[in-house]
Symmetry: C2
Subunit: 346 residues, 2 copies
């Protein structure tokens, strides 16, 4: 096996200087056509791969990356994103990456807009964001598109946008929840419970609901009901209790976000341990209920990995000119009390 070909090798093979090879590679013109063809064929023949490392040695640019993320202080779900981001930064510590993070309140659309505007003042080359609010995100993404700033989104997909997306297939994750409940729950009614967010603007919860329903629709033998319950954060406990008590044929509950622990608390105090419970995300409170068996399964959305991959893709795009995948779907992790531990690290 030969050592890797360098520009110098190719220059020698072609009988020209490395300057000419460089001009051919980058289509910078000023090369006689016959020479150009000859060099191009040669490059093809030996499948020349430039040394990305040497290339970036010279190119010591400072890259500005903007991040528009939900404030973990307002919702613990987002805490682990920081780890993912730090991991990506440390992996690329050889390059000069400046990350400007702006946090917004995940319950407040205005805060989202404000943070966005402030982020713009740092003149980022590229953006990583969680487009939590459908309507607002759409307009913000349009802004970036017009400004010619590439964006990578995660957690929520805004289908109409051209922005790249990293996350899970939410429709399918609803189906996974349905399959799990169908496998473990006794025959009876199933409930979809949406807690805390503005349902209309939260496409992700609607998608999960659609998937959940589609699973039971596909079943030939299912004769019971799929109930639905929307709850605001302020009214959580009373409304939930009423819902659980009034539906006596209820055998399974699907909570469409990380708030399953609210339902778990009630199931425990009301002694309704025949009702199976499936929810999302490895918050400490959820994990506790999972371990004692009140929550049966959690679906892990892996926000850490989402943030990590998003930032990694962006950096590789800036530094190595790699293409960012338009849509990158993470696997849907099923978690029970026995396999939860290693996922807490991820």
């Amino acid at each position: 096996m030969m050592k890797k070909y360098t520009i110098k090798d190719i220059a020698q093979l072609a009988g020209v200087s490395k300057g000419t090879i460089d001009r051919v590679i980058h289509n910078r013109g000023n090369v006689a056509k016959d020479v150009e063809n000859k060099v191009k064929r040669l490059l093809e023949d030996i499948n020349y791969q430039p040394n990305l490392i040497a290339r970036n040695l010279k190119n010591n640019r400072i890259y500005q990356i903007g991040a528009l993320l939900p404030d973990p202080k307002k919702d613990a779900y987002w805490e682990v994103c920081t780890d993912g981001i730090n991991q990506a930064l440390s992996e690329f510590s050889a390059f000069d990456i400046r990350l400007h993070t702006m946090l917004f309140d995940p319950t407040d659309t205005e805060s989202f807009i404000k943070s966005h505007q402030q982020l713009m003042t740092s003149a980022p080359d590229i953006i990583l964001m969680v487009p939590l609010f459908y309507k607002e995100a759409k307009s913000v993404l349009k802004n970036y598109e017009e400004a010619g700033i590439q964006v990578c989104t995660f957690n929520n997909q805004i289908e109409v946008s051209k922005a790249n997306f990293i996350g899970q297939d939410l429709y399918q994750s609803g189906r996974v929840a349905a399959k799990l409940l169908h496998t473990i729950a006794d025959k009876g009614d199933m409930a979809i419970i949406h807690i805390d967010e503005k349902y209309k603007n939260a496409v992700h919860m609607q998608e999960k609901e659609r998937g959940f329903k589609s699973y039971f629709d596909d079943l030939s033998g299912f004769q019971d009901h799929i109930l639905k319950c929307k709850i605001r954060y302020t009214e959580t406990e009373d409304k939930l209790r009423a819902f659980l008590i009034n539906n006596s044929n209820l055998k399974g509950v699907f909570v469409t976000n990380s708030k399953a622990f609210h339902v778990a608390r009630l199931l425990e105090t009301e002694n309704k341990n025949h009702i199976k419970l499936v929810g999302y995300d490895l918050l400490a409170e959820n994990v506790n209920y999972l371990k004692v068996g009140v929550i049966d399964f959690l679906i892990h959305q892996n926000p850490r990995q989402q943030a990590y991959l998003g930032l990694k893709f962006l950096i590789e795009h800036l530094v190595f000119e790699k293409q960012i995948p338009n849509k990158f779907l993470l696997p849907i992790d099923i978690i029970n009390s026995e396999n939860v531990t290693p996922f807490l690290r991820d």
Copy 2:
């Protein structure tokens, strides 16, 4: 924010030349003590991180990596390892990595030894291997240790060896299987079925069995039996059929390797669909039975990721002098018919 510090910057700050800085960094001596202390403090203060990329530009060594892997033609479980290896190679294509792969027959210990011996003739700098056979692997690993060749193992852990290991906690994965069966199966007996490999030399199957049993031991209310059945490849069908028919109180089956489809086939033909089945690995045959509901859950051991990480760790060790983690445990993925698709890519 400042640009990154380089050796030149530090030399200027310390009022010496970059040669001296270099000598201090690498403890190459020939530096006056007061200067050395001054520079060391300065390096600490500004937290100097050398540019790994520039470092490796000069260091254009050719690294020889040996790989001792089971032949995918003999057992489809190993097929995806190739993908993981290719991914790692392409990620580090900037460096000159030469991979020498030797395959062995996963049912034949002699083939393992032979491949090992042949691999040694290529004088590898470092080794990636699957120590499938406990006794033989132990002696092979000792060979490498004496030759001062660092080894990274995956899939099977040889506890006594100093080699690094990537894989799953097999004891815990047995517990996961137990928890799943306990969650979905009716009250009754559970069976552990070992198919195809020499049980005594297959520590991984023993570990899974131990974990499985421990879960039921921890249960206070479990009054039924944990059965056990060892089956050779040649006798699979008849012995299995007899086992399934003779144990009428059987409600759940745990197959400790990727051969669950053998059991699934029988459960289907014998119409025993009240028996729940949990096995390992996303072989096409297993996935088919998972989709039609004969297999209820599969545990994904992610051999692709194991091979990928193993090679990645080795390369980063050679190229960047990074420490290889002594033990890297992958999460235990639970797979059902609804979340299987994205895992087939991994």
